[in-house]
């Protein structure tokens, strides 16, 4: 499927991600030992045949620039097109946009600011997606069904994700056509939008135009909702693992779900591989005295201590006598001798000095800021 482009919204305003979102935007939060949140939707798009993916950035994107680079690790480094970073701040009063009001919010604002990119990328279909939604989904069948169904838009949804507020919820009729859209709270029987929409590029341009003309601030609860009577939105459910990064607690629980073999098989399905930045670490070394159980461990770790129910990112060192339980240690973390960690999220480059003890709880995992020594 060469005739599809992706548009990935990689900004987000989740203040509830706390310290994890200080050095980065939510889409750039490390997840699952090897990845950043947006690697999942980006890989889904690439696997569906997208050779053009525009990534819409806003704030705190420096870490994403480093991570994505030229897009080569996703095979999106192209002479023309490929991975294109779309900074809304790059907004220029070019002729195309002249006279449009770009001061609206969120997705609508991002779409308006990138009108010329959408206009100039001459693919027939567009997939919209959000970087903070983590799932492994083969989108090709969705595109095929979209074409066959004759719907204006195909939306991918799931059972409501629970913890979230501000989700976009939809009611559907027996033919899976969306009949209502609301936000904040779901009613029984409603589905939650995963922010994945498949539609023709010209249809997207029409929707943006409608939003501009009618001065609407929101894409889903504004433009789509208003047009529901005439717009055929086909809703299709995804049944696999989904995580939507919104709170630290949710991040922690979703991460721990990866210790379940079925979740891993679904999220790391080798038929739909998830790509990430290649870092060239060596394999992980287990020392004589290491004792690791029920844990997910990335490359480049050096483990001499005890690790249980935990996730170790690349290059983590666990010194002899250390005990790490129910914790997440991000890239290049150094956990000193005779330490005890339980329910801890250690951001990148954290050093825990010898003989320290740090304990959080399931409901309140303690975050150690990026680069800190404790």
């Amino acid at each position: 499927m060469n005739d599809v482009m992706g548009l990935l919204f990689a900004y987000s305003d989740s203040k509830r991600m706390g310290q994890l979102s200080v050095p980065r935007t939510t889409s750039s939060i490390p997840f699952g030992g090897n990845y950043r949140a947006l690697d999942f939707m980006l890989s889904n798009m690439v696997n569906a045949g997208c050779r053009d993916v525009g990534v819409v950035l806003r704030e705190g994107y420096q870490s994403l620039l480093d991570h994505l680079g030229s897009g080569r690790d996703w095979d999106l480094s192209r002479k023309n097109g490929g991975l294109v970073l779309l900074p809304p701040f790059g907004y220029n009063p070019t002729m195309e946009n002249r006279g449009y009001d770009a001061s609206v919010k969120g997705k609508m604002s991002a779409l308006i600011n990138n009108l010329s990119y959408i206009r100039n990328t001459r693919k027939k279909y567009v997939i919209l997606g959000e970087g903070r939604v983590i799932l492994n989904i083969r989108l090709e069948p969705f595109i095929d069904e979209h074409i066959r169904s004759g719907a204006d838009i195909t939306m991918v949804s799931a059972a409501p994700l629970g913890e979230s507020t501000r989700g976009i919820y939809v009611t559907t009729d027996e033919s899976s056509r969306v009949t209502d859209i609301n936000t904040y709270h779901s009613s029984p029987g409603q589905l939650e939008s995963l922010g994945i929409y498949i539609l023709e590029r010209t249809a997207l341009l029409d929707l943006i135009d409608y939003g501009i003309v009618n001065d609407m601030s929101y894409f889903e609860r504004g433009v789509l909702r208003t047009l529901l009577p005439e717009l055929h939105i086909h809703c299709k459910s995804h049944h696999g693992f989904v995580a939507k990064l919104q709170t630290i607690e949710g991040y922690f629980n979703s991460s721990m779900e990866l210790l379940d073999r079925n979740v891993r098989r679904d999220l790391f399905n080798p038929d739909n591989p998830i790509y990430t930045r290649v870092r060239d670490f060596v394999a992980t070394y287990y020392g004589d005295e290491s004792d690791v159980t029920n844990s997910l461990v990335a490359d480049g770790c050096h483990i001499e201590g005890k690790v249980e129910n935990s996730i170790l990112f690349r290059g983590v060192h666990i010194a002899p006598g250390a005990v790490v339980k129910n914790s997440i240690v991000m890239t290049n973390g150094k956990i000193g001798k005779n330490t005890f960690l339980n329910y801890i999220i250690a951001d990148k480059l954290v050093t825990v000095t010898d003989d320290s003890m740090l304990v959080g709880s399931t409901r309140f995992p303690v975050v150690i800021n990026k680069g800190h020594t404790v």
């Binding site: 699952g32 030992g33 090897n34 080569r72 690790d73 210790l259 073999r261 891993r264 999220l267 790391f268 591989p273 998830i274 790509y275 990430t276 290649v278 060239d280 670490f281 060596v282 394999a283 992980t284 070394y285 287990y286 020392g287 004589d288 005295e289 290491s290 004792d291 690791v292 159980t293 029920n294 844990s295 997910l296 461990v297 990335a298 490359d299 480049g300 050096h302 996730i311 170790l312």
Partner: protein, 398 residues
């Protein structure tokens, strides 16, 4: 389009590597997996780019396809340069005739036009079957400083070992006055590592003369080096200190893998300033289950360990079932060890499956390494004896 380069590296990827037996049935020796993530050729290629040498010709006539698809555009080693980069160079047809490479020197001779494109001052000759980390720029600087015509990298071996190597006899200032191939009574312990720096003008002259000589077997060690010595060219030895191992045999390949686990072996790959690059497989982190154990081992991405792994090297995507034991072994990418099986002192090649309760190798005869070829299946309960080489499926009923 093509820029002048100070130094071009020519990597002799060599022949079939028959002393690796079933491991090289469908794989050229340089593409043999090593150390949990790598293939042998990753080492010279990474050394090149880390040394700032971005133009590498890989000379091969055996299974270039796999090497070609492994190396791809060279990006994994940062060798996807607009000018230079890595090129696979099989023998080719000129006008109406073509010929295979008859020897190491002939392989370079046939590729003189490749080298000439870059108009280099120096040519660095490397081989594709050694594990080592080396900054070639230091050797080239030494070569320039000594004003040598040829510099040969040597390593100090023990006197006992010396008779297995090509030995360089040097004067006190490092000038080579004699070269002895596998001398019975070695006069020195400086063994050639098969790494040469030549002034390109000089080397080209010798290659052309050697080619004209019908008696020559067109080999660096047998012909070019002795002739240059005999002609009084300035040849110096550059002493390398550090880990260096020829992995051309099953035993040495196993040894070198085990050296990955020994902090004192000198084989430290985990150096952020001298990364060994390799082709990435896009696998998730590995997982160790509540019943799984791993100690004194290297484990790569994508593994799922539910059994016990000790003193072993596990490549990407290896599965070790419940109750299975893997000891002193090397399991290459995608190997599956089912429940209750035991694997000891073995090398198992890619994607091979070992059935339930099977027994592969044993620790009773240390030094007898058992080898299973790639893509085969060993049935449930089968026993493979220590030192066996298995190239085909063995059914569970046997």
């Amino acid at each position: 389009m093509i820029k002048k380069k100070t130094c071009v590296a020519m990597l002799l990827a060599g022949g079939q590597g028959s002393r690796l037996y079933v491991l090289t049935t469908n794989v050229a020796k340089p593409a043999v997996p090593f150390g949990g993530k790598y293939r042998i050729i990753d080492f010279p290629l990474s050394n090149c780019i880390n040394s700032g040498i971005d133009t590498v010709g890989v000379l091969t006539q055996y299974e270039p396809l796999q090497l070609n698809s492994y190396i791809g555009n060279g990006h994994a080693w940062d060798l996807d340069r607009m000018s230079g980069g890595v090129h696979i160079l099989p023998p080719y047809m000129r006008h109406k005739s073509g010929e295979w490479y008859t020897g190491t020197a002939n392989a370079i001779y046939q590729n003189i036009p490749f080298i000439e494109q870059y108009d280099p001052e120096y040519v660095l000759i490397l081989s594709g079957d050694h594990i080592y980390r080396m900054d070639y720029t230091k050797m080239i600087a030494y070569h320039a400083e000594k004003n040598a015509d040829c510099t040969i990298s040597v390593i100090n071996v023990s006197l006992e070992e010396a008779s297995r190597f090509g030995i360089m006899n040097t004067t006190s200032d490092g000038v080579i006055y004699e070269f002895e191939e596998k001398p019975k009574e070695p006069k020195s312990t400086l063994a050639s590592m098969g790494i040469y720096v030549f002034n390109w003008e000089k080397l080209r002259k010798y290659l052309e003369e050697d080619e004209a000589n019908k008696e020559s077997s067109n080999d660096f060690g047998k012909n070019i080096i002795p002739t240059m010595l005999a002609n009084g060219e300035k040849m110096v030895a550059y002493e390398f200190e550090g880990y260096w191992k020829d992995v051309g045999t099953i035993d040495s390949l196993w040894d070198a893998n085990m050296d990955m686990l020994a902090p004192n072996s000198g084989l430290n790959i985990d150096d952020p300033d001298w990364r060994i690059y390799t082709r990435n497989l896009a696998l998730p982190p590995h997982y160790i289950s509540p019943e799984g154990r791993s100690s004194h081992s290297m484990v790569a991405e994508g593994c799922e360990i539910e059994g016990c792994v000790e003193d072993s090297v596990l490549f990407g995507g290896v599965k070790v079932g419940r109750g299975a034991k893997v000891l002193y072994s090397v399991l290459m990418n995608g190997v599956e060890i089912e429940e209750g099986a035991t694997v000891e002192f073995s090398i198992i090649a890619e994607n091979t499956k070992v059935g339930k309760n099977a027994t592969i190798g044993s620790d009773e005869e240390i030094g007898k390494i058992t080898v299973l070829a790639a893509n085969i299946e060993i049935g449930d309960g089968v026993t493979v004896n220590a030192g066996d080489m298995v190239a085909e499926n063995i059914g569970g009923g046997q």
